[in-house]
């Protein structure tokens, strides 16, 4: 065990849900950070997914049109 | 300007020297290009001195940082013209495609550029130190670090110059690409001078600067050559 830490308790580290939100007074910092992280992660996934769907839609239209002109 | 005679099978050192001489000749012909960065250096130093109200104590403390940062910026200014002239009149293509080995003329160009920027700034550093009230005991350290660090600046900067030579507004892009790469040289160079002022030994920084320059000399020519090929093919 290192100098900077000490196991306070085993199990949930907070006495109440209010304490959990407050994060010992640092609630803003912690929740902002976690929120930002979740945003970045989700954004990375969503952006790719949307671009992909759009691209497939475009390609399908293109392919259909081409198939129709070829059939003529 | 900078036209190349049809290459015969010249040895690498001869190729280097002939290109090097050509570069110096063209520098002498267009003196402004070489002088402007140096003028900028001293102008900017003077601005700092004036901005600090000519206060010796303040200036003495930040002099190493000021000098080093402005050396970085002035070096970058002189990098812009490194390949541009030859790019515009078509000799750059001949230079990299015909010469064997391809990176030798490039190395010569970079060496010539270093002479008119890094080396020149090293020699002029005492004046800069004087204007900023740098103690004279520290000047040798300043000069040594500049001497060892500026080749790396020229080499790394040449990579950026080669990548941006064909692009519009290449100057700003050059800064964005190259300044992060300059950070280690800046840190070691500046901290060496500051530490010397505080009486601490500076050997580590000197070794690091030498190492960085060595690594740059080994790698930069190939990368510059590759970058020039990309730029020229556009």
């Amino acid at each position: 065990m290192g100098p900077g830490s000490r196991v306070e308790r085993v199990g949930v580290s907070f006495d109440s849900f209010a304490d959990f939100i407050a994060m010992g007074g640092h609630g803003f910092y912690v929740w902002f950070s976690y929120g930002a992280s979740m945003l970045v992660v989700v954004a990375n996934v969503v952006v790719v997914r949307r671009s992909r769907l759009r691209c497939i839609r475009e390609l399908t239209d293109m392919a259909r049109r081409q198939r129709n002109t070829e059939a003529v | 300007m900078g036209m190349i005679a049809a290459p015969t099978a010249t040895s690498a050192p001869r190729l280097f020297w002939s290109q090097f001489q050509r570069e110096l000749v063209s520098v002498v012909r267009s003196k402004e290009e070489a002088l402007n960065p140096l003028l900028f250096l001293f102008l900017a130093i003077s601005l700092f001195a004036l901005g600090a109200g000519g206060d010796p104590e303040v200036l003495q403390n930040i002099a190493p940082a000021i000098i080093w940062v402005l050396v970085l910026l002035a070096n970058m200014m002189s990098l812009e013209g490194l390949f541009r002239r030859d790019y515009e009149d078509g000799t750059l293509e001949q230079l990299i495609l015909l010469a064997q080995p391809g990176f030798v003329p490039v190395l010569a160009k970079i060496a010539a550029q270093w002479c008119v920027s890094g080396l020149a700034m090293t020699l002029l550093a005492p004046i800069a130190g004087l204007i900023l009230f740098l103690p004279s005991t520290v000047l040798p350290t300043l000069m040594i670090t500049l001497l060892l660090g500026t080749p790396a600046l020229s080499l790394l900067g040449a990579v950026g110059a080669a990548l941006t030579v064909g692009l519009r507004r290449g100057g700003v892009l050059l800064a964005i690409l190259v300044l992060p790469l300059y950070v280690p040289v800046l840190i070691f160079g500046s901290s060496a001078v500051i530490q010397h002022m505080d009486g601490i030994g500076t050997q580590a920084q000197i070794y690091w600067l030498m190492a960085i320059t060595m690594i740059s000399i080994t790698l930069a020519p190939f990368l510059v050559h590759a970058a020039l090929k990309i730029s020229v093919e556009q």
Partner: protein
């Protein structure tokens, strides 16, 4: 499969497109499980730090982001080498697609680092070794982005970025040494990662989970971006047309 056949196969975008599909699901699910577990554990169950109290929990998002940000750039450096030396097509696409993820993670690391710094050191920003090298990394990413935007032809842009990525990758250890050398002298007492092994397992295990999770996320994201890029670049080919028409892209 021998290395040689793998090498040849990797040169075929079509093969890669097909082979990568299950991997996206594998890595994606792994990422989800690891990240959720790690985050919940770190947020709720990990014991409070003696010095920093609960603000240290930011570590569970800051450190993974910082680590993957650096790794992503190194991936690009290696892709650059593969492109310049062996002209591997896939490497070309890797260079085009990693930058958004890497840059967003670098920004996240910087922001969470600053937010962590405020309650810890009392300042939003300090010029210490790790913050500075993260900032320089951001500038390196930005350089790649700017260079790619400035060059019109995609093949030339990829090769130019390859050169820059190689130079940057070589510089990264040098930058880290230099900032470590010079800037730790002025550093105020701060929570350093090297103390991690001295943390009890209840504290660093969730961190390990999050780190693994974010690397899995990186992998899954990279694969899906690569597949998208393959579709874009191979749009004129028969196999892509057949693929989209059959609805199984």
């Amino acid at each position: 499969m021998t290395l040689k056949t793998l090498w040849h196969r990797l040169g075929s975008p079509r093969w890669f497109y097909q082979i990568s599909r299950p991997w996206i699901y594998v890595l994606g699910i792994l990422a989800l499980v690891l990240l959720v577990t790690g985050t919940v554990w770190g947020l709720v169950f990990a014991p409070m730090d003696y010095q920093q109290h609960d603000s240290f929990r930011i570590m569970y998002v800051h450190v993974p982001a910082a680590m993957v940000a650096q790794s992503a750039y190194i991936v690009m450096g290696f892709a650059g080498v593969l492109l310049l030396v062996w002209r591997m097509k896939l490497a070309d696409m890797v260079l085009a697609t990693v930058v958004p993820f890497g840059m967003s993670m670098t920004l996240l690391a910087l922001v969470t680092g600053a937010v962590w710094g405020k309650p810890t050191w009392g300042a939003w920003w300090v010029w210490d070794a790790r913050t500075t090298s993260m900032l320089v990394l951001l500038f390196l990413y930005f350089g790649l982005y700017a260079l790619r935007q400035a060059i019109a032809r995609p093949e030339a842009a990829a090769r130019a970025c390859a050169v820059l990525a190689v130079v940057g990758m070589i510089n990264i250890p040098i930058i880290k040494y230099s900032v470590n050398f010079a800037l730790t002298l002025h550093q105020k007492a701060s929570f350093t990662l090297t103390e991690a092994p001295s943390m009890p397992p209840e504290m660093w295990l969730p961190l390990a989970l999050n780190v693994l999770g974010i690397y899995c996320l990186f992998g899954a994201n990279l694969l899906s971006r690569l597949r998208l890029e393959i579709l874009r670049r191979e749009r004129g080919t028969q196999w892509v047309r057949d693929l989209v028409l059959s609805g199984s892209a």
